[in-house]
């Protein structure tokens, strides 16, 4: 721990020295859900963002301009998140900020648009925050949930289980904003792809007994069942229940489901679980950016032998922040929130070195690209190449 502290302390000091001799630093703040019910991901998100910004500083900053990063814990509490945001705005005057939730983004949107003018990335994959018209300063770090569903449905349409009928799909989601967000769009997309939605199963948050829901699946016998609005429970009990009933349904998930936490709980039952992930995994081979991440971790966190996809979200958000700053500099514009916001639609055909496909924010403030993975021997392995919607 002390060695780690010294190492990161050195990096911070190094960044501080750079800041003193170079230009004004680019200040980035974050309200991170390190504690509370989002802590499972918050710690990794923060580490990913911290590591990427440290990596950029090690490379000489953004064309010589160092990055200064300040984060605080919010406990995944909207009130604390808003308070922390306001405190950090007054104290650090950032040009970019990372927020803890969709709710925080929606609550702060009017003030960000009219008063703070700071580019805002977050944990959120909500479609609403990718709406450039209402939320011009906000972006989603990858595809929205709608788009993640779209990618899965596109995959299903290309991989029907029977040739004599359309693919049969079930949507299985929690009764929360997180769970319900993509469902209306997913229904429309399924229709467009010629997929039949045979049932929609809704559970309360933290549902444990899923017998009736599994019976519902047995009644409709879908080829595929897509989970939304869960991290781990009740997915294992649903999959085991379905196996007990002899269903050969393929189960799928979106970003927050696609971690080793789920596969560890599922054990052998996890074999064949599929889902969409917007970023490459730690164990993916031949991905240049993953090699950089592994190399960075070898140097700074020698004890670490795995990073989950939450870490990759933090890393990717850092990449977007830096890309926006680079675009500003390339245009000869000062790196302000206002100018950074104008650069979001300018990110187009951006090669992320295999990390997140070729990213484009041209159509909305989200990047509709992801890859379908399948669980094999306790790891998610690519089942498709990078898939793009709107193609």
């Amino acid at each position: 721990m002390i060695k780690r502290s010294l190492r990161i302390g050195w990096v911070t000091a190094w960044a501080a020295v750079q800041a003193a001799v170079a230009a004004e630093p680019i200040v980035i703040t974050a309200q991170m859900p390190i504690t509370g019910r989002f802590a499972f991901g918050g710690r990794h998100l923060d580490q990913g963002l911290t590591d990427y910004l440290t990596y950029v500083n090690e490379q000489g900053g953004v064309n010589g301009t160092p990055i200064e990063y300040h984060f605080e814990d919010t406990g995944y509490d909207l009130r604390r998140a808003v308070a922390t945001f306001k405190k950090q705005m007054a104290k650090h005057h950032p040009v970019m900020n990372y927020g803890e939730s969709t709710g925080q983004g929606k609550a702060l949107a009017p003030e960000i648009n009219d008063r703070y003018r700071v580019v805002y990335g977050s944990t959120s994959f909500s479609r609403e925050l990718s709406d450039r018209h209402h939320y011009p300063y906000m972006f989603v770090s990858g595809p929205t949930y709608d788009q993640q569903f779209g990618i899965l449905l596109k995959y299903i349409a290309a991989h029907p289980k029977a040739n004599d009928r359309p693919p049969r799909v079930a949507f299985f989601y929690s009764d929360t904003e997180f769970g319900r967000d993509p469902i209306p769009a997913a229904r429309a997309q399924a229709e467009a792809f010629g997929i039949q939605v045979v049932t929609e199963v809704i559970t309360p948050v933290g549902a444990i007994d899923t017998t009736s829901q599994v019976l519902e699946l047995r009644r409709h016998r879908p080829d595929y069942c897509i989970f939304q609005g869960y991290v781990v429970p009740p997915i294992p009990s649903v999959i085991r229940g379905a196996r007990d009933f002899g269903l050969d349904t393929t189960f799928m998930g979106t970003f927050w489901t696609m971690s080793n936490m789920l596969l560890d709980q599922l054990g052998p039952d996890g074999e064949g679980f599929m889902g969409v992930n917007p970023y490459a995994y730690w164990h993916d081979q031949d991905v240049p950016m993953i090699q950089i991440i592994r190399d960075f971790n070898r140097r700074h966190h020698p004890d670490v032998d795995h990073r989950p996809n939450y870490y990759m979200q933090g890393w990717f958000t850092g990449m977007v922040f830096v890309k926006l700053a680079e675009l500003c500099q390339a245009e000869g514009l000062p790196v302000t929130g206002e100018n950074l916001k104008d650069m979001i639609p300018r990110i187009h055909e951006w090669d992320t070195q295999g990390f997140a496909g070729t990213v484009s924010f041209r159509q909305s403030n989200a990047s509709p690209v992801g890859r379908v993975y399948v669980a094999r021997d306790g790891k998610f392995m690519p089942a498709s190449d990078w898939m793009y919607l709107n193609e």
Partner: protein, 348 residues
């Protein structure tokens, strides 16, 4: 050394603020509150607004639970009803906040009357469970009454307006939240100098005796639910205009438990206690965050491990307060005042 107040009239005996010192302190407090927006930054003003809203809601719950003895686990739902009412009125029809405030309060009060109806037949833990059911039902309605509430996406609320002046910053909104909070506290304090307030206390202390004295239990219990919900509704209206968005996830069960914690920590059956409890629950987490923030500069790498300690320390503080002073912060404050007043002759 001052040992007491000598009063020559009943009016003096009934005065809320009984000494010149208290009145001077209050004047200073009002001046301080009035001047605060001119010296404080957005963060502190946001916290002040947030604390004022919590105080308004907590005073309401203290009327129901602390004074009338009816435990409620549905207070957050009533705050939600007020917030949704204000959000709908201001976003669809552009109603100004000064009209939304009473309408939100009355809407919540009507719902409170309905929820309070079972108090005719139930009390104690049984009534508590019915309020829990009310919390669940209203949470369900916030999600499912989509034409009204916009479902899970919630409602974006435009900035409040007072006589054409747009209150788009926390500094401007402060001039609504603080007066409303002060009015709520004043009304709450005076309520217990009336027949209604005394009837509530009588019901809390012994309902059978109260009934024998001629107090209509059902009527007064319902009234307690209505008044408490009115406070919650007003707090909800302020909440909607502070956060500018209202979604079902803002009013969960644990929020109701938080309000209950406020009045228990502050002191049940004390308006001052509700104020202290609300301030404690609002500001102590920020204080802990600030302390960790000092530490963060020196040891950035270990902050991820230290942040979870905040929750532990906060919980330990609550337990410590309840162990050492079960009557809450208000009682601690009273003892502290006595100690100063009687010093050096004061003994525990």
């Amino acid at each position: 050394m001052r040992i007491g107040h000598f009063k020559e009239t009943y009016t003096a005996d009934e005065a809320v603020f009984q000494s010149g010192f208290v009145r001077s302190a209050l004047v200073l407090l009002f001046l301080g509150l009035a001047g605060f927006p001119f010296v404080a930054g957005p963060y502190w003003l946001y916290l002040a607004n947030h604390a004022a809203i919590a105080i308004t809601a907590a005073v309401g719950l203290n009327i129901l639970t602390g004074f009338a003895g009816q435990i409620s686990l549905g207070h957050a739902a009533f705050v939600g009803i007020g917030a949704y009412t204000a959000a709908i009125l201001s976003s669809r029809w552009g109603w100004p906040i000064l009209v939304c405030l009473p309408v939100s309060g009355f809407t919540a009060a009507v719902c409170g009357l309905v929820v309070g109806a079972p108090s005719m037949r139930m009390k104690g833990l049984y009534l508590c469970i019915t309020t829990l059911a009310a919390q669940m039902i209203f949470e369900f309605l916030f999600v499912r009454a989509e034409p009204l509430t916009n479902g899970i996406r919630g409602i974006n609320v435009p900035p409040a307006e007072v006589f054409g002046l747009v209150l788009d910053t926390e500094g401007k909104l402060y001039f609504v939240t603080i007066p409303v909070m002060m009015a709520a506290v004043t009304a709450g304090r005076n309520l217990f100098r009336t027949r209604v307030g005394r009837a509530w206390v009588a019901i809390r202390d012994r309902d059978i005796s109260a009934e024998l004295m001629g107090i209509n239990l059902f009527r007064y219990k319902l009234l307690a639910f209505a008044v408490s919900s009115f406070y919650a509704g007003v707090a909800g209206c302020l909440y909607a205009h502070l956060y500018k968005v209202v979604t079902p996830e803002h009013f969960p069960l644990h929020e109701s438990v938080r309000y209950l914690a406020m009045i228990i920590i502050g002191g049940l059956g004390s308006v001052l206690g509700a104020i202290y409890g609300a301030i404690f629950m609002t500001l102590v987490p920020e204080l802990l965050q600030w302390i960790l923030g000092r530490f963060q500069q020196a040891h950035p790498a270990i902050m991820q491990d230290l942040f979870p300690l905040q929750t532990v320390v906060f919980g330990a503080l609550i337990v410590a307060f309840l162990v050492f002073e079960p009557h809450g912060l208000a009682e601690m404050w009273r003892r502290l005042k006595d100690a100063f007043r009687l010093w050096p002759f004061h003994r525990e």
